[in-house]
Every structure is written in C-alpha cells, then in structure tokens.
Symmetry: C2
Amino acid sequence: MEMGMREPFLRRRTMNTASQLAVVGADVSPIESLDYEIVENDLYKQDWRSRKKVQIFQYVVLKWTFALLIGLATGLVGFFSNLAVENIAGFKLLLTNYLMLKERHREAFLAYAGCNLILAAAAAALCAYIAPAAAGSGIPEVKAYLNGIDAHSILAPSTLFVKIFGSICGVSAGFVLGKEGPMVHTGACIANFLGQGGSRKYHLTWTWLRFFKNDRDRRDLITCGAAAGVATAFRAPVGGVLFALEEAASWWRSALLWRTFFTTAVVAVTLRAFGEYCRSGKCGLFGGGGLIMFDLSSTATSYSTPDLIAVVFVGAIGGIFGSLYNFLVDKVLCTYSIINEKGAPFKILLTVTISLLTSCCSYGLPWLAKCTPCPLGLHEHCPTVGRSGNFKNFQCPQGHYNDLASLFLNTSGDAIRILFSSGTDNEFYISSLFVFFTAIYFLGIVTYGIAVPSGLFIPVILAGASYGRLVGSLLGTICGLDKGLFALLGAASFLGGTMRMTVSVCVILLELTNDLPMLPLVMLVLLISKTVADGFNRGVYDQIIIMKGLPYMEAHAEPYMTNLVAGNVVSGPLITFSSVERVANIMHALKVTGHNGFPVVDEPPFSDAPELCGLVLRSHLLVLLKGKTFTKDRVLTGPAEVYQRFGAFDFAKAGSGKELKFEDLAIDEEEMEMYVDLHPVMNRSPYTVIETMSLAKAAVLFRELGLRHLCVVPKTPGRPPIIGILTRHDFMPEHILGLFPQLKHQN
Amino acid sequence: MEMGMREPFLRRRTMNTASQLAVVGADVSPIESLDYEIVENDLYKQDWRSRKKVQIFQYVVLKWTFALLIGLATGLVGFFSNLAVENIAGFKLLLTNYLMLKERHREAFLAYAGCNLILAAAAAALCAYIAPAAAGSGIPEVKAYLNGIDAHSILAPSTLFVKIFGSICGVSAGFVLGKEGPMVHTGACIANFLGQGGSRKYHLTWTWLRFFKNDRDRRDLITCGAAAGVATAFRAPVGGVLFALEEAASWWRSALLWRTFFTTAVVAVTLRAFGEYCRSGKCGLFGGGGLIMFDLSSTATSYSTPDLIAVVFVGAIGGIFGSLYNFLVDKVLCTYSIINEKGAPFKILLTVTISLLTSCCSYGLPWLAKCTPCPLGLHEHCPTVGRSGNFKNFQCPQGHYNDLASLFLNTSGDAIRILFSSGTDNEFYISSLFVFFTAIYFLGIVTYGIAVPSGLFIPVILAGASYGRLVGSLLGTICGLDKGLFALLGAASFLGGTMRMTVSVCVILLELTNDLPMLPLVMLVLLISKTVADGFNRGVYDQIIIMKGLPYMEAHAEPYMTNLVAGNVVSGPLITFSSVERVANIMHALKVTGHNGFPVVDEPPFSDAPELCGLVLRSHLLVLLKGKTFTKDRVLTGPAEVYQRFGAFDFAKAGSGKELKFEDLAIDEEEMEMYVDLHPVMNRSPYTVIETMSLAKAAVLFRELGLRHLCVVPKTPGRPPIIGILTRHDFMPEHILGLFPQLKHQN
C-alpha cells in the first residue's frame, strides 16, 4: 500500500446496485430503511412549541401503558401457547404410550406419525399461504428491524397470527424445534401492532395514539416486545432484558432498560398468576407453571481441579460442535431456500418430509436401546403411567423401562428436564445418550429452515444437554460432578457456541435452573465455548442475517474503510430540488427514482449563492402534493398556509401498508406547471459530512445516530452545495468492495 | 413563543465562563475532557497501514490479559480488605463484648470509642494528606470519568492506596458506611494503572503497552474495573456487569459486555478460591467466603393479594424515604464541603466528631432496649459468645439478650445478615427496630461526605432492611410473608429510591440472597420505589455529580436546545492556524489560551480559497514543536520528514502527569520566526456541523460519538471556513441558560 491512498482511486459515479430485496421468513420481500432521525422541519418546530404539558403527560402515560400491555399480551400468548402444546402433544404421546403398552406397535407408530404429519402439514400450510414471513425463528428478522431494516410483512398482524398457531402446531408435531425464538417474534409483533397509531378502518383513531407514529417510538416498543418474548419463553425476566440488550437491540439507552425491565416484570407476574391457577389441575394436561422450569438446586457446591479441567473440556468441545452447527444450518438453509422459492406446495412437501423423518427417528431409534430394570425406591411410577416421566415402558416387559424412549417420546421440555435432573447418574446408558445426541443434533439442523415457525434455543439446549450428560457419563468417576450439572454445562457450551451470547444466556440458564452456586462454572463454559467458536465463524443469527441478504449495519467500521473517504462511495445520479420547485419536476423525480430523500438547494433569488437548505423525504412530498398547496409563481409561500392545511401528524409515519403511494396522487396538467414551496416540510438540519471525511468515521456517525440519509457536502467552495447522499446500502461491504476490489486482498 | 425562534437572538460571542474546576473526592481539582475520537492524521494512517497481523494479535492478547489482571487484582484487594476489616473490627467488638460481659461498662465504652476514634483519625489523615480524591464513594467520579471527564488525581496510584487502606480503617471504625462504593473506585484505579502504557521511571516500557495509550482503550479498561469492583464487593459477577452497564458507563457496545463479563467471572473464581481457603479457619476472625453473602432461600414461594398490597406499600414509602435521603445527603455534602475546603486539620476534626457521634449512638442506644430471654431450641449460643451472632448479651443478665445491641455492635454485614434472616419473626421488638432504623438513616446521611472513603450501598441497605423489617413487624399477622423477606424488600425499596438503578440492583440482590422465587416481588418494589422517588429528585450519584460541578453530558438533549442552533452557543474568540504556520504564532496561542484543539485552515497558495483543513490538538502541537521540524520558508514539508522523526506513538496520549507541558519547550528567537507544516499531525476528518444545525441534534452527535471538539462551519460560502468549536462546556445548561435566560422560563 502506498501513502495517499485516497487520491489514486478514480471517482466512480456508479449506481449502487446493492439488492433492495431480502429473504424474510421463507419468502423474498422488498426492504426499506427505518428513519430514526427527528425531522426538524418548520411543522415539527411549530408543533413542538405548541405542545402542552398535557400532551407530554399523555405520551408518558401511553408509553408505560403500552409497556404494560405488551407484557400482559405476550405473557398471555405464551401461556396459551404452552397450554395448547402440552395438551395437543400430551394427547398424542398418551395415545402412543397406551398403544405401546398394549403391544400394538404398528398402530402406535401410525398414530404417532399420523398426528405429527397432520400437525406439520397444518403448520406449513398456515405459514406458506397466510404469512411466509412467520417461518423460522424470527430473531434475525427482529434483530434486523431493530437495526433499522423494515420489510413489509415482518411484523404484520397476519405474521403474528401464524407465528402463534404455526408454532403451536409445529412444536406439537414433535419437530426438533422450539417455541422460544417464535415467542420473541410474537412479542415484537404484538408491540408493533400497538405502535400502529390506531386504525381508521376499525375507528380506533384516538388522538393519543398519534404520538407513536414514528420509527423511534416503535423501535422502543419492539425492543420491549423482544424482551417480553424471551421473558415469556424461559420465564426469565432478567434474562429477557439482557437478551434484548445483548442480542436484539442495536441502540440502547438507560431509560429503555428501565421500561424493558417493567415489561418483563409484568410478564413474570402474569405467568405466575396463571401458573398458580393451573397448578390446581384446571388446565388439562398442562401442569405446574412455576417461574423455574428445571429446578436443579444442585447439592454439590464445591469442585476440585479435575472437575475444572472437565468443565474446560466440555466448553471447548461444545464450542466446536456449536460452530459446526452454525456452519451446517447455513448450508441447509441455502438448500432449503431454493426449494422454498418454488412455491407453497413445495414448502409443505419439504415440511412433511422432515416430519416423517423425525417421526421415524423418534419412534425407530428407541428400539435400539436395551431394556433396563426399574430402579428401586422411586417416588414416581416405573414404568411411567401418565404423559411425561423418566421411565417410558415402550417395547419393554413390565418392570423395565427404555431410556431412549423416555428421551424421544416426550416433549422437548420434559426431555431437557430429564437430562438436567440430578441424582439420576445411572439412569441412562452411554450408548442411548450417544444415539439421542446424534439424532437431535442432526434433526435440529435439518429442521431449521422449513416453512414453520421454529426456534433454535430448544434444539441447541437439547443437543447440548445430551452432549454434556454423555461427556459426564464417559468421564464416569474421574469427575465428581453430578451428571445433571454436566447436562447444564453442556447446554451452556452449545448455546455459547451457536448464539455467542454470554451474559444473557448465563442469566437465562440461571433463572431456568435456580442454580446460583454454579454460576462461575456456567460463566467459564460460556466464555470458553464462545471463544473457541468465534475462531471458526459468526453467531448463528448473524449468519442467517447475512444469508438472507438483510443489510445489517455493524457497530464498528470495517478496517478498509479507513482508506476511503465519504466521497469515494457516493453513488449517483443525485437528484436535488430547488427550495421552490415546479410540481412537474417533483412528480418526475418521484416517478423515475425510488429514492426516499431528496436534498433541497436554495438558489438565487432565495439566497445569494446556491446553498444546501435541507432534506425532504419522499413520504412528506407525497403528503404535500396531495394537499396541493401550489402557487402560480415561483415565490415563497411561507409556513402559514401549510400550518393551516396540515397538522404535524399528517406527516407522521403511517402504520405499515397505510402510507400514501405515488399512484394515489392526482395532479392535473395545469397544476403540473405550478410551484410548491418545500421550506416548511424539509428537514432543516440534516446531518452532513465533508467529502474528505474518512469513510470509517462517516460510518460510525451513520450507525451511532441511526440515520437513513447522510448528506455529503463539498470541501471547496464554488461547487454544487451537495455531492451526494449516503444510505445504508452505501456502507455495505458488497458495495464498497465492488467499487474497490483491490481492498479485498488487503484484509 | 413566536415562530422563527432562531432569528431573534443576537449572536453573542461571549467567552464560555463555565468552570474548569470541580470537586473530586474532597478537594477542588482542575478537570479536562477526554478524547475518544480517533485522530485520523497522516501519521495515524501511515502507522495503521504498516501495522502487521502480529501487532493486532499483541493488542488482542494484551486486552484480554488486562481483563484477567483487573479481575484478579480487584478480587485480591477485595479479599484482603474484607479480611482486614473482619479482623480489626472483630478484635474491637470482641474486646468490647468481653468487657461488657464482665460488667466493666465504662471501660467497654472507652475501648470501643477509642478504637473507633484512632481508626477514624487514621483514615481521615490518609485521605486528607495523601489523596483527597479518595474521599467519598468514588462512584460519581468513576461515572464522570466514563462520561469523558478527567481530573488529575481521580484514578492515580496514590488514590488507589488511600482508597484501600482508608476504606479498611473507615469500615473498621464502625462508621455507617460501606466498602462497596470504594471497591468500584478501587477497581477503576487498578484498571487505570494498567492502562498507563508502562513507566519509563521503572523501566516498564514494553512496546505492547503502547497500544493502550489512548482514552478509548482506557475507558474500556476502566469500565471493566468498575464492574470488577461491584462483582468483588457483592460477590455478584452478573450484577457487576449490569452495574457497569446501567450506572457507570456512558458508552457501551456488545464486545465490551463480553470482556466485562470475563473480568467479573475471574473475580468470582478468585473470591471463591480464597473463600475455600479461609473456610478452614486460617484467616483469623474472617469466616466463610462463599459466593452468597446472605442465604435467604425463603421457603414461602407463594403470596396472596394482601401480601402484594403490603409490598406495594413498602415500595412506595421506601421511594419517599430514598428521595429524602438524597435530598439530605446533598444538603449535608454542601455543608461539609465548606468545612473540608478549610484544610486537612478541619477534615480530620470533622471525621473525629462524626466518629464520636457514631460511637455514642451505637453504644448508648442499646441501653434503651429491654432484655429478652433467650429463645429455646437454638442452634447457636445465646447469648452470643464469639464475635458475631444474633444474641448480644450487652448489659443483660445471663440467659437474656439485647436485640438492639445485636444490631449496633456488629459489623454492618452481620447486621444485614441478622435482619435478612428468616424464621426469626419474634427476635426483635418493634421499638428496637424503630430506634435502629432512625439512627442508621441519619448516621448514614451525616457520615457521607467526611474525608474518608465511604460507600452508600451498605448504609442504604442497612436502613432499608431495618425499615422493611419494621413494616413487616407492624403489619404483624395481616401479611403472611416472612420478616426476613420484608427486610429484603425494604432494602430493595431504599436502593431503588436512592440509586435509581433497577436491573442491576435486582440482580445484585438476587446474587446476594440466592432467592430467585422472590424475583417478581423485588422487581415490583424496585419499580414502585424508583417511580415514586423520580417524582421528587434525581438519583444520588447524579446529584453528587451536579453538586461537585462535573460537566456530565446527558444522553438526551434538553428540550430548549431544539429552539437554538449550533451557531448560537459558539463562544469565542476562535484561534485558527494556517496549515503552514509561523512557530511564534503557535507559541503565542499555546501560551495565552488553554484551548486543547485548534482548527487549521488551508490558505492560498496551498489552496484556491481558505478552507477548513483539519483540527490539531494542543498535545500534538507540543510534541511537534519539541521535535523542531521547522523550515525557514513557508513551504509544505510533506509527511516524510515527520515520519522519520516521529512514530505514531510519540503522539499517543501519555499516562496521567506525564504529558509534555508548555514549559518544557525551549524555542529560541531564530526558530520562532521559522515555519512548521501542520498537515502531518492534524486530524483530517474532524466532525463538523453547519451553523444552522439544531443545537439538540448537535448535542446528540457530540454525545453519541463521544467527541471533545465539534467544528461549526458556515452555511453560506464566502465567509471564514470555520465559525467556532463546540466543546463539552458549550452544551452545559448553565452556559446555554446563561446566554439565553429567556429559555429558563419556558420549561
């Protein structure tokens, strides 16, 4: 590299050809950026000045009411979804168990696989025909939304509907998938639904709701929603807050921490109240609903050096398995997206195939296991009589149990509980654990990506727990730790290896298992597995975001950006408006370009020399043109007329699907030749950088302030007052490395 | 308010008279801003290009090694400090107890008060003569540092020394103060010590250390240090991370979360290892060192509606008490700072007075309590034989105990443990609890502010716990919750009411008490008390920061800033340099102003018209002038000569007290008339805003990017290329409201 890197590049004014499409859920969907900047135009200032104390009070009250409602609704949905899953899956398992006890093996398989198939097909049909955006975990989509990427149907009510019912069917169908990721998406959808600013169609146009018609407030609501989702899924209120903070949110402030915390506290109270109600047996097969799902409370509070070595080993190997998991999920997803693109029937076919594979595995593999005589002196029945229990009889004679069947023919939650249980060191054969681990590991990989709402947490925890227990059993008496604790550490290592979250996973596991004294061990395992896995690839959600083509802005600038300046990556052609512009020009620009922001230049006679006056948004232009505040001559109308005709809320961002479109405008020939004054609606203070500003610094500015448009102004006077506009796509590595391929080899 | 708010103001070019002094610890000290911006000058780019993979590897290794060392060192200091306190205070209490059992009451008082007096005087003397910056909690100072405010001695090694030993003496002296706040400051000092980039004096000039000679990396280290401090103080690793995130840090990113988490994990392991060692009785009077200080593990896992009402009540009243606490602490601090300003002897005198008051209260008040017969069937001795226990005999006959003495004549940790203990509902009289609560509440208030390292956590928890237990006892049988749980909730309500932290306090309490099922109740109490207290005043640390005059930048812009533009608050006179400037001009500017950044303007013949070229820092100018790369004529020297003479690290920020000063320069008459080329050392990409940019948006830009200087450029061409520079002081409410007093009435 030579010095003066900046100069040798040819200034290339190419169009930015970065794709404006991305895969959302299972379908390709157009994407847009969100606008977090406050548009400080005359109308905003006028409105801001006239805003009274009472309106601020309304806003604050509503903000907290929404936080309460998000918590309540997410908690309720989570409870309902749990109830449904436990009852549907419970009925299916009871039926299978009953037929097995009667030795009607073929019928048992048909009943089991049939139920699974019907449920799977229902889930896939819902997903394929009603809301393809509901497929998959949803966490990558929510993460992208909170980074400023909006896709039309990502948080729509139909997505919410399918996410809830598709998830219930999918989990009940016995797939190796969780309802935890979908719960996060569900929480976000509920929050988005509240943030729509009411609906004219259903006469919900309460004026208070208008305050939330902007992307900033919606972002806050959706952050709360994501936290509520995790809090509901794991009954872990603190873990939910930390998840939102560590993984989901791109922008964060202390006030939001506090509101998110309130939301998850509401979730905790809601879940607890309903749990109390169900404990008395009024909820069918749905049992206890305490705050702690898997009560470990291990008795061993001390550990020795060999134990620590074993723990380090578990962490390191877990990290490798975790990164391999990410790698394979990525490959499988690429393959599946080809199939999914072919249309709804193919999606259903794929889902049904995976369902059959899963049924065959979970019914077929237990036949490999030996029968074990029931241990003596148990509190519970052996073999298991009811729906769930550690000792499924399966094909074994009376007084014996099949350990592999206990794992396979249970809901995932129960299987994890069995694996985590302490004092059960000899309950499982090493071979059974090995078979179970292998099956779950690969089933989890092939299941993610089918057109069904499917979380990654549960498959990863399940595989990790069986891996941990397997290692614990292999180590045998060398290591004094309980096998249940090993399962916990194995689950932690897999979570660290795939999701690469640390503090939030740690707290979630803590809240799940109530095992505080083991905190240092869990921390150690997470640190090791994350470090090891980071050596191979990215976290699973980041990988999926990249694979789906969502233009995610990282918090840091890429190293090669230091060698470039803002002017290098500006792409043209730039369309600017004069501050009092002919209507026809605006109409033409709106028609032929898809730009969302246009710089406005003050020209003589309105100023001495051309100068950058502000930035006007496409949506605001549409409202302004619709209002037809035109003049015959090229004169300043001043803001008074605009104030008269519009309120600030007319320019507020409408709910999804309710924006004005270009086609809605009806401008006649005569009006086309008239002029419109853009001063009142343009953002007078757009953020600007000088063309010679280092691109790395411009990227930091863009990302930290959550911008959509960043104006690039010339350094030397005497040139046009604006050179170009930087958007999210201009900072994407694909675009920059496409312009300057030589940078690729440098890194 | 009229429209066009922007125009009517007269542009006033007044000097910014905001104070550059603040109270740090107990003394007034000059302050400076920290510089988080990457200075992208030619040297940096050259260095960045020549940086090899191995150097990046060195940097990463060192980063993690430092995190490890911070964790280890903070853990060790915390352990040592605990050990010392337990032994010193234990000896003192044992002696008093022994004399009381022998009925030698006067001697007991003299011994008790005498020990306290000597320890208090020692602590005050250390603090007054060696490091006044070590007085107080230190959390406000660390918080201000992490916001970008540096005061010379705030994190110096002498401060570290006094913080450790002063804290040991102060806590042992029986003051109502904690060692938790000081532990945070200690952690930050240790981190800062590591981040100094070595020391030439002690031949610690390892090249690897150079990477940390900048404010960004030091900030990260100190964030880790603060987290390690909390983790050590409360043995709460997750709580430590959350504290750093919620309260301490102003800038945060996911990578830092992960490093902070590692640091606190190291702390947890260190403390555990030493705790195991001490459990076998090798540490004198220092007993168990488990991870959980107060094991509550309450048996009651369900609660009814009356319980919830009681909890809401506890939270609301706790919030009021908490905000009153803040109000009184603020008043007392103002009074004390007048006394402290008079000099060291006055500081010591004040401390000794408070010590005597504390001794009188804790020895005198127990005489008011009735003697209670020992309950039957106890596991422990009654009356207490050893150092700590629930049943201090005091003046009572054999077989009886004095409940008030058990609270007063114990270390604060033991007193909290007694208050939190469950199944001890009838151990305390309501009158005793009332006396204890009142005494501790007011002693806590008058103790903070004396020239001794003094934390606020323990006094607040102690007062809160006694308040909670008092409420629980008053409610009697109406409410079924355990009195120990009430104490916990009372402590939570006081913490929420004073510190206004939510998630971190919640997790710290969780980790302290191991009482996960009570999480929703603790959350509820915290939410209520914080909400109530926020209605009255700010959090205690924020109040102290304001009282001390530290120019803290809030994350949000003040509402009145929307009415102003950046040009309104720029203060002059502005000194600019030409890109090739006469040495004498630079020397003059450095001499007569205290500015830390000077804009550089390219003028003909180096450009066609005057244009802003960059920003040069005072520290870089000093290094450049010291190097004497001058030329006789006004010509560009180009970067080559500078590369030859300097490395990038010569311009790196030196450790505190090691910077070049103006007085170190020796420029003779002839050199004064020579020229120096500023191009190679100036920051070519300073962040700029246009003068008409809304001040609110400029403030957000300044705060989010952690800037020290923000250049204001003119909107119209044909004027000088730079109008002024905005610094932290220009955004302070005092300055802005001083310029535009009419804004004050608006809000």
